[in-house]
């Protein structure tokens, strides 16, 4: 069975919510929607304080190329446009909305019926994706339309759909594959037309056998779309690793997947594209997993963007007593949540509850020279070397050792028996090298 070549680890899977159907979370009374929820230039607000908005109405407009629109996930009144704290505790501009009813804007198909016929051509599809504010739901929130504007000297051959969900605990993609398979497959057809490619590969890890058989069965009706089962190994969901696992091609250091003729999108993005293009629905909700070992009922929730975290927790019956840490995302790459009143964003894929006991770090001891971090690194780097260079502020040397190739998957940290904070310092090095590179390009 296929998988990527170098490194990787296999943490405990803990897919606790994999059997729970997607539930729709009731709307909150008050919501906070961030003005910018993507990577790139900030969006510009187009509504004002006191305005009445409907679901799907444009709230903030993209004025730059790498930028995305933000739409209102609620109908109601904008009470203020002010700073709000995000999951990390930092303040960002946001719309405060008092929710009144659930009135949608005209022109959006809210019915459950499946629209199969694709009427738009390639250019119109990309335009629609941009207009509906679709961003990559794999985690980085990179505006999707940018990926679909392929440079003239490059040609896309494969569309790769990332459904591996290699992070432990997360199950939202799995549920999407089981419950919204048709929508995903039509979304993939739309994407194929936008890119002008004939072949789409859906990568699913073999710890989701139901999803693999269900998708393979349905994919038979779609020419050129193939489901590939992959051996379960973390971080298979990383772009470069997935491309290697599916096509055997290696993306060169510092280059994008289009270099080897691939475009990679997440399943969530495929679903969002289906809704955006076929139903004209902007990206206003996402599916997140509320999970944890001590949580009474692990669930998959369909949540509108801007729902305060506390509201989700209350709906799920509060936090267990031994909660030590809440993580936004999976246990490997997710970040701890600082503020419980912060609202969700387009890319919030999971709220993971970790107990006090499991949340503690290992105590740091001396390096054993065992080389586990080196064999675990999926990018073929030497984490301990980068760690030591970063400790001594030797940024230029760290750059030569390809620190910028690090995908921050955390395999080194996970495998280190000495509990060294390897990834933490590599992140510092990446930040410093980024600053150095910017200074260099200015000169």
């Amino acid at each position: 069975m296929n998988t990527f070549r170098l490194g990787g680890v296999h943490p405990e899977e803990n897919k606790l919510a994999s059997k729970s159907n997607i539930e729709k979370l009731p709307l909150p009374d008050k919501a906070v929607v961030f003005v910018s929820q993507h990577l790139g230039a900030p969006s510009v607000p187009v509504v004002q304080k006191g305005d009445k908005v409907k679901v799907g109405q444009l709230l903030a407009k993209a004025e730059a190329f790498i930028c995305a629109n933000t739409h209102s996930p609620y109908s109601g009144t904008i009470t203020k446009i002010d700073l709000a704290t995000d999951f990390n505790g930092y303040k960002k501009p946001a719309f405060y909305i008092d929710v009144e009813g659930d009135e949608w804007e005209e022109g959006i198909d809210t019915s459950d019926s499946i629209v199969r016929e694709i009427t738009l051509d390639s250019k119109q599809i990309v335009e629609r994706i941009k207009d509906r504010g679709v961003v990559g739901l794999g985690g980085a929130a990179f505006p999707t339309h940018v990926k679909y504007m392929i440079p003239q000297d490059k040609k896309a051959e494969y569309l790769i759909i990332n459904a591996v969900e290699c992070e432990p605990y997360l199950t939202s993609d799995n549920r999407v594959l089981l419950e919204k398979a048709e929508e995903v497959l039509i979304g993939i057809e739309v994407m194929k037309r936008a890119l002008g490619v004939a072949c789409a590969l859906i990568g699913i890890e073999n710890n989701k056998p139901e999803a693999i058989s269900h998708m393979s069965e349905l994919a038979k009706n779609y020419k050129g779309t193939k489901v590939v089962a992959l051996k379960t190994k973390y971080p298979q969901g990383a772009e470069k690793q997935l491309i290697y696992a599916l096509t055997g091609r290696e993306v060169p250091s510092g280059k994008l997947p289009i270099e080897v003729g691939c475009v990679v999108n997440n399943v969530g993005t495929a679903l969002a594209i289906y809704y955006a293009v076929q139903k004209n629905m902007p990206l206003i909700d996402n599916i997140l997993t509320f999970t944890g070992k001590s949580v009474k009922r692990n669930r998959n929730l369909q949540v509108r963007v801007g729902t305060p975290l506390q509201y989700i927790i209350d709906y799920c019956g509060g936090l267990p007593e031994d909660t030590g840490k809440l993580v936004n995302g999976g246990p490997m790459m997710g970040k701890a949540i600082v503020d419980l009143n912060a609202p969700t964003v387009k890319t919030t894929s999971s709220i993971l509850v970790i107990s006090q006991k499991e949340s503690m770090r290992k105590e740091e001891t001396n390096c054993l020279r065992c080389g586990k971090c080196v064999s675990a690194c999926p990018m073929g780097l030497e984490p301990i070397l980068l760690f030591n260079l970063a400790k001594q502020d030797r940024w230029e040397e760290a750059e030569k050792e390809c620190a910028m190739d690090c995908i921050e998957c955390g395999c080194c940290l996970f495998s280190c028996p000495a509990g060294k904070p390897l990834l933490d310092l590599i992140r510092v090095a990446k930040n410093k090298i980024g600053v150095i590179r910017r200074l260099r390009s200015q000169r």
């Binding site: 990390n88 303040k91 904070p421 933490d424 310092l425 992140r427 510092v428 410093k432």
Partner: protein
Amino acid sequence: MIDTVIYAILALSVIGAISALILYFVAQKFKVYEDPRIDIVADKLPGANCGGCGFAGCRALAESIVKSESLEGKFCPVGGASTMADIAQVMGLEAVASDPMIAVVRCNGGKCNTTKKVSYQGVDNCLYAHMTFVSEGGCANGCLGLGSCVKACKFDALKINEETGLPEVNQDKCVACGACVKACPRNVIELRKKGKNDRRVFVCCINQDKGTVAKSNCKAACIGCGKCAKVCPFEAIVVQNNLAYIDFTKCKSCGKCVEECPTGAIHAVNFPKKKIVEKEKTPEITI
């Protein structure tokens, strides 16, 4: 027998003389002129190679001084005015007057004035913590207290005060090289004028949140009320983005703003104790 010795001495002397001649001409041909004053100036400098002057090291500063024949914009913070006067004498130039500076930590949050809302377990690296989250107290601008500045200081002038969790500057050791300023990811540390009799007044806060938010995070935060700006007779205080800033070039250290500040965010250092104790507004003096 004696002949052999004589021949050997003669032969060696001839070889020596020829080599000396060759060496002499080669040395003449490839001679690189180096101003002897560079060595003299470099000797006068402290040799700490801290980079505080903005040059790569002491010798680089010396080269630059001699090459440009001017002391404009060149100042050794470690040696201070006396070293610069010495160098000016060697160079036959007028010493550029420069006030002694000192690093100042502009945060008074710490353990005393903020309540811990979350706890951090990552590495002791301020930049990493800054990339990860706001701070344990909730202030997005204040000191993280992990001591990256302490590690950056080559003169042992900074240390973390265990009680407050904030770095403290030892004013006898600080040479204002600016290494800590560069090490701080949040620009908490600033180089300010040491002041007359080492007395200085500064706003010990850099958070730009609105008053209510700032106050909810930290008892000693500047709330941007502007009282200090009104009371200042020298127009040295500007309130911008909910934050007061005292311009040290205009400040005469009269201390009026210190008494006026409702949160105790303005600190006066090395003033006679009486004044501060009376008002009981600044319980902690952190330089």
